[in-house]
Symmetry: C2
Subunit: 350 residues, 2 copies
């Protein structure tokens, strides 16, 4: 077994604290990654606080993991010692269902093994995430991080990057299209960079007028403040695609109204309360409201290679793990530009 | 001007009564259709009762119109005297916007002229629908009714037919797919016939156990009664496409849950209250909730030709116009198999 230091929530909503545990030995198809950075995703907070139900404690959160390969199993072919590698939101899946066979493992029909807050395929062994010094993972579920990507800025690509990249590709966002990005947070700022890099004319929709300058720096052409009622009227039917990155309650009908004929709004945030969707918002212009959840391993690798090619990565604020509670508070109130990333070196002394 | 007899609602919610009015003279590009049958659509009732707001009175409802061409203008090329012709939900549009140019006039961005309860492009002259003896319409907005289709059964194709055909085509329903049809009424029964004709394995979801035999006769392979909670659990992720024809409040999340990865539910009913859509219903499996509204002229003609080719038309109950109130009551309580059609000959004596 491989001794590992981490930070864990001992019970629902409790403060995270140092936690020592063992990783499994490196199997024939495994890689051992010495974790250097781990992004802080809003879903870490939801799960630590058991806001979605079913949380397992102690919980070591973290699914935006990057580091250096320290050891590889005998049958590993994709990685060598010293490579940069990453782990996203899941570390295994059934590999046999239609979705796994199609490379869309995130929708595994049998048992998706989440990187943390879940169990291995034995349905007993808990999984522990990236707020920790090392991780052992099957090479099929690890990603190559291109060497040109700065490692700490690459970490959030493993969740925020793929979550926004996948729907932009699925709905064929490209040159000359008008794309809206709702909410400029961890997901939204990646959505803006990626959509702009694909040639779209991007508008950011935000409740925070103070984010306009940032939005434009990230690649947005337009910025719309959505505080005043009626803000959407002049824009009705103008957009080809809207990426909705908001988890807080919001009027989805106003954003649906932006869409041209057969345009799509993709939901990547997950508001807790049901969305109130007016039938006419969809029937008018034959619009589509779609959900999207991260992406498969193949597409995640494609996204990482694309980001390296385009020189895209996440804007991050590096923190020691000891500041995690403050980072959670600031994330909840949207006070981060645009992703906290834990410098895992800070765990060494714990 | 062309003298016309009709049935009209004089005010919101009042009983329909005989009403005489003039149709415009036949212009160079117009056809005069002697109406023989007109279908009774649930939206006639909504509009007569001003349930969607903005109704114009007196209102002559009816947008599932078929009859015989009695006269054609000098420049008409698509029709000759004696042809069977039909009129659907609209009789004109701007012809210049992107949607009109794409042949999707139903989504006209400037002025869709509805067959009734609207105004002509002068924004003054009211339009009157098919509960009447004749109609004058620009040939570009009239449909050819293939002679092999029984005329009275063809009438509902102009709304119920195209409304279900368009999303089945848009979402590429075909051989071997599993398709659900929710609600077995005017729309649903066409959805079953059309989806089955395209090679899909069709399941009808209904609150009425008594409709099973009919569903199977119409072409369904399976029938699921949706009264008991939990009915959907065993079917999760099994369906490629769901056509939701229900206007009454219903649990959309249960139906979304039926969909496989990237499967779509198309909404063609229009519930008055917003649908409560759980974000996870969409995010799981990357599902899509789409709206769809009738169809363009080109696709409506394609649908009519397709129906003629496949021998598909609507199951109807023929009524004299004098029984319209009873037909409305029975439509509202779902007591019709599956569409009332007015025999316009009954207007002759009024």
């Amino acid at each position: 077994m491989i001794k590992t230091k981490g930070y864990a929530a001992p019970t629902a909503g409790a403060r995270l604290e140092p936690f020592s545990f063992d990783r499994r030995d490196v199997g024939a198809r495994d890689v051992l990654i010495e974790i250097q950075y781990c992004g802080v995703c809003h879903s870490d907070i939801h799960q630590v606080r058991d806001e979605w139900g079913g949380s397992i404690y102690p919980m070591v959160p973290g699914h935006e993991i990057v580091g250096r390969v320290a050891r590889v199993g005998a049958e590993v072919s994709k990685f060598a010692e010293g490579d940069h590698a990453g782990v996203g939101c899941f570390v295994d899946s059934c590999r046999t269902c239609r979705n796994c066979r199609d490379g869309e493992e995130q929708y595994c029909e049998n048992h998706l093994v989440p990187t943390y807050n879940g169990t291995e395929k034995d349905e007993k062994t808990p999984t522990y995430g990236g707020y920790s010094t090392r991780i052992v993972v099957d090479e099929d579920y690890a990603l190559r991080i291109p060497s040109s990507l700065p490692l700490q800025n690459a970490a959030p690509l493993l969740c925020a990057g793929i979550t926004t990249y996948a729907p932009l590709r699925r709905f064929k966002v490209g040159e000359g299209q008008r794309v809206g990005v709702v909410g400029l947070g961890g997901l939204g700022h990646m959505g803006v960079k990626l959509a702009a890099s694909m040639g779209a004319r991007v508008t950011v929709f935000s409740t925070s007028p103070g984010k306009e300058q940032d939005a434009r720096k990230l690649g947005a052409d337009d910025f719309v403040v959505t505080r005043e009622p009626g803000w959407s009227e002049a824009l009705a039917g103008r957009y080809d695609f809207v990426l909705d990155c908001v988890s807080a309650p919001h009027d989805i009908n106003a954003y649906l109204g932006l869409l041209r004929r057969e345009g799509a709004l993709a939901l990547v945030g997950a508001p807790e309360k049901p969305l109130e969707v007016a039938a006419f918002s969809l029937i008018t212009n034959g619009r589509t409201l779609a959900g999207s959840m991260i992406g498969g391993i193949r597409e995640t690798q494609e996204m990482l290679d694309y980001c390296a090619d385009k020189g895209i990565s996440s804007d991050v604020e590096l923190i020691p793990v000891q500041k995690i509670e403050e980072a959670y508070e600031r994330t909840v109130r949207g006070d981060v530009r645009y992703r906290f990333v834990i410098d895992v070196a800070s765990l060494k002394g714990e």
